[in-house]
Amino acid sequence: MGINTVDPNLIVKDIAEELGISILGVLVFSNNDVVLASELPGDLKTIVTSLVVFINKINTISQVKVKSSNAYVYAIKNDELTVIFITEPHIMEGALHLLNKYVDRLIKASRELMSRARNIEPMVIVEGDEITEEDVLMLIDYFRSKLSELEVRGD
């Protein structure tokens, strides 16, 4: 039943080993929802979330680079997916493009994860029926009786 997925933390490690670039985080979003994410310093989450919302509002954007005092964020849009690399702020802009070689791998892994999730979706989209006050009271009575049984048994 499990979904096997790539570990974005390993991609961070690979980038450091293969390119010598220190990456603070790698994420993939589907629209505004996270699909894959490495460990990420908490103070960077806000800037990443804001950036993704911004990118998704403007259809014509394919790449965005944002530099702040503590990070350089490089975002690449691929249809509804957005790949985000976060590096140290002092990295040379040209070096960011070396990261493009990892985009396909991240996109592929994200699409596989989403595809597998869709396969199990029919099992989870069960929606609750209309329930009446009597239904709720009956459930409460039932679970109270179960609780009483446990108490009587001394469990």
Binding site: M1, G2, I3, N4, T5, D7, P8, L27, S30, D33, V34, V35, L36, A37, K45, M114, A117, I120, E121, M123, V124, I125, V126, E127, G128, D129, I131, E133, D135, V136, L137, M138, L139, I140, Y142, F143, R144, K146, L147, L150, E151, D155
Partner: protein
């Protein structure tokens, strides 16, 4: 059919809660990570009560699976948001997911379950403060392997469902806080 969702961050005890409550062998979707397992899709269990089937869905806690949260939670009647009281870091890590549920399902009845009370390090008051839980939302103490406490938590939630849907208060069962921040 009554749909109940168990939400909360990684390691809060959602899978255990579903296992303790379910009358059938629950579907578990834990996948191996490095040296441990974690829920990556959802846990599922059910309880039949006369003509009503209570479906229990536990959702994965990691933010990277947040796209599943909305799918699993669709059409739910209520949810229990579970936190690990034994870890301040874990409670802090729950803020994002709790805000997501509050923002996405603002009108759905819910309570907070403060799990791992046997080894708790974070008080219920602190959990309320850290998560920003509104005063009217109850926080129930829980040990998810203890069936009695699991039933009390469920009754507390159902009482909240009744209160919010039908506007009347039932006699309290849970030892959870009164919702006044005490």
């Amino acid at each position: 059919m009554f749909k109940l969702v168990i939400a909360g961050p990684y390691g809060a005890g959602k899978t255990t809660f579903v296992k303790t409550l379910s009358e059938v062998v629950p579907i578990e979707t834990d996948a191996p990570t490095v040296g441990k397992t974690t829920t990556v899709a959802f846990d599922y269990g059910k309880i039949r009560v006369n003509d009503i089937v209570v479906h229990l869905f536990g959702v994965p806690g990691q933010e990277r699976f947040s796209f599943l949260w909305r799918i699993v939670a669709r059409g739910m009647h209520a949810y229990i948001f579970m936190v690990d009281s034994s870890s301040l870091e874990s409670v802090k890590a729950a803020v994002f997911m709790y805000n997501y549920f509050i923002d996405t399902f603002p009108n759905t009845p819910h309570i907070i379950a403060a799990n791992k009370q046997d080894i708790a390090k974070v008080s219920i008051n602190d959990i309320r403060t850290i998560l920003g839980v509104k005063p009217e939302v109850k926080i129930a103490p829980l040990i998810a392997v203890n069936k009695k406490m699991v039933l009390e938590t469920l009754i507390t939630l159902l009482s909240e469902v009744h209160r919010l849907m039908y506007g009347s208060t039932l006699s309290p069962i849970s030892k959870g806080d009164s919702g006044t921040g005490t």
